[in-house]
Structure formats: C-alpha cells, structure tokens
Symmetry: C2
DNA sequence: CTAATCTTGTGAAGTATTTCACAAGACGCG
DNA sequence: CGCGTCTTGTGAAATACTTCACAAGATTAG
C-alpha cells in the first residue's frame, strides 16, 4: 500500500466536514458530485480519493453519510482523542488554547507552558500555565501526542529540541523558523504570513 | 507563461526567509545547495524554482544574496505594502491583529471589525474596533487589498458576501466553512485543526 | 595561460496527481 | 420484468511536479 498524498488527506478532512453538515441536516446519502461541488473539486477526484481505501459507495445512490463519515474519521485518526500541549503562552498560544475547533476534532489541550514567571500560574479557560522547566517531567507521565510550538522565533529551535528529547513525537510549528530535528519527529509548519502571499 | 505552482510559491517564501537570515549574517552569496539544506529539499529543486523566473545566479559562485532577495520580494508581491482588514474580533482575530509577522512581511492591518456592541469602540494595540455596519462605506474609500475572515462559522458565508460586495478582492478565511463566492474573489482557507490530522 | 574546482541552468527521465470516459451495479416505475 | 436514469469504481490518458545528470560559465591557484 502506497503512502497517502498530503493533498488527499486535506481533501478527506474537507469531505468529513461536509458529511458532518449533511448528517446534521439529516441526509442519508450523498453523491461524489455533491461533495465535489462543495469542495471545489471534481467528482472523479472525490471518487479516486475514496476508492484508495476501499469501495463503500452504492452505484446509483451515492455514499451513506454516517458510514462514510465513520470511515473517514477512522482514516484520519479521529476516532481516538489526541492530547496536545501548547508551548508558548503569547498571542498565538492563547488563541490556540481557547480555539474550540480542536476539541471538536478530538484534540484536547492538556497543558500550556511558558518561561515567563509573570505568566506561569495564571489560569486560562481552566488551564493553569505551567513553567517550561517542568516540561520533561510532565511529559514523562502524561505522554502528550502532539506539541504546538508557539514561541518567538529566537528560542524555537532550542525549545523544539527539548520537546523532542521529552519524547513527544509530533510538533506543529507556528514559529517562523525551519526546525532541524531528528527525522523520527513529525514536524508540520504553519506560517500565517505565508498564506497571504 | 504557465501559472506558478502553489508548492513553488511556498518554497520561494521559505528561500526568502533564509536569504534574510543570510543578509543579516552578512553573506554576499549563497548556493542552491545551502538553500536546499535549510529548506529540506534538493539543490535541483531550488534551481528549478528560481530558473522559472529567469537566471540570476552566477556559475561557480552561487546567487547574490541581496539581489536574489530583492527578486523574490518582487515575485511574491512584497515590494509593496498590502493593507489588510480583520473581520471578527474574537480569539483568532485578536491574535492576528497583534501578530508581528504580518508587519514584517509588508502587510499592514488598517482596521478590525466586529458586530458585538460590547467590542465595538474598544482599542487594541492602537486600532479601534469598528462596527461591521460601516464595512462597505469604509472599504469604498480605504480600498483594502485583503480581508481576513475570523468570524464564527455560522455567519462566515454572509460576512464573506458583504466583503465581496464591498469590493475587497481577496479573503483569507479562518472560519471552518467552505465559502461560495464569485470566481474573481481569491479565497485562501486556513484550517488549524486540519494541520494536526 | 592552464588546470582544477565550483556551481548554475536545463533537457530528459522518472514519479505523482488529476482528469477522462465508460462499463456495470442499483433503483424506481409502469 | 424491462427500461431509463443515476452514480460508482477504475483503467487509461493527460498533466504536473521532482529528480537526475551533465555541458558550460566562473573563479582560484599556480
């Protein structure tokens, strides 16, 4: 079995969103054509994407909305909950910590870290900001799945190395630097200014 | 001339960041190999990306750092300043309004809008939150280049239509919905939960 | 000036992704 | 049941993107 293309994953995630809308509206089935129109793609593309994982549509009818939604959740790894820690309690970190979209998608924020003593101990939306010094010790028993890196660029590389050493296997990087880490750490970069270009 | 691939633009933006670092360090030239190593790609890829716009390297030497940086800024449209309005003064809107990365890249936030009377009139970082009711009138004379849509999903489509009607030609959409707009409005979607999947 | 060494620019080859096009299954209706 | 209509699943074709490989320009050292 070949690797799933990044572009395919993005589209699957989009399809899932449309399926959830359809589910809420009470539709029982949906065609590749409908999914395509909402997602600004083609029906052939939708079918190709889905057929990669097997065939769960009915000819002449379309796809069963609840069945396809369940299948996509499984493919995207959303049938289980992922625990997330946010490192950096600045502007971006605070927006992310309170972003409802994560919870809705099965990601639960279990901790926020910062190095600024003025911020450590303050409470946000039920979460107490922890001292970054305790990152390694906490990670050893809480075993978070993903770290969101939202520090200033200057310290991002150093903090990323600590995250890697603490045994957290994936980093979502909001800092505007390219991280250099061991290949077994999954790094995904997000650059908001880049989106505007 | 063919359209520039999305993946190419992303890399060009990355190269520019490395060039700015090199500029700060005082390097006069840089090779495709060096750019490739930092950007986790190959030197052939770097050269192909750049050769698309002409040939401005020197064989045996590499590329002139300031010259290439200037050329990339021009290609990416960063030689001029773009004015941005943020619509939606919630968590994401406020993080974006204060995000320094935009300014550094030539995007200046000229206004923030919200529909909540409790927020309208309050001041953020030198910007007064305006009532969304004045969007059309303001846009007519300020002519912003880009609107950042950071409203809740339920109202995003309606607000996007107003933005389009107000004559703003590009939207960066942070709401978790797929906008349906006229084809001449450039829409770019950002979905933070998606990045984790 | 010549030789050795770098590094670009670019066809050609190799992969990957998207679109086309159509056979065949599924349903509804008379 | 037979017919018309809808919609999937999928090879094949088309397109797009990446990597290879090498000729040729540029520099440095002797």
């Amino acid at each position: 079995m070949k690797r799933i293309a990044d572009s395919t994953v993005r589209r699957l995630s989009l399809y899932l969103r449309f399926l959830e809308e359809a589910e809420a509206r009470g539709s029982a089935t949906i065609s590749s054509e409908e999914l395509a129109k909402k997602g600004a793609t083609t029906s052939a593309q939708v079918r190709k994407d889905l057929s990669f994982f097997g065939s769960f549509g009915k000819r002449g009818l379309g796809y069963s909305v609840p069945e396809l939604a369940a299948r996509l959740r499984q493919i995207l790894g959303l049938e289980r909950s992922w625990s997330v820690v946010i490192v950096g309690a600045g502007k971006i970190g605070s927006a992310l910590a309170q972003y409802r979209g994560f919870r809705q998608r099965g990601f639960s924020v279990i901790a926020v870290y910062d190095s600024d003593p003025a911020k450590v101990g303050s409470e946000w939306d039920g979460l107490v900001v922890r001292d970054i010094a305790t990152l390694e010790a906490d990670a050893a028993h809480e075993r978070p799945d993903i770290a969101v890196l939202a520090t200033p660029g200057e310290v991002a590389q150093g903090v990323a190395e600590r995250i890697a050493k603490a045994g957290i296997p994936a980093i979502l990087n909001f800092a505007p630097v390219q991280l250099q880490l061991r290949a077994d750490i999954a790094v995904k970069n997000v650059n908001m200014a880049l989106e505007l270009e």
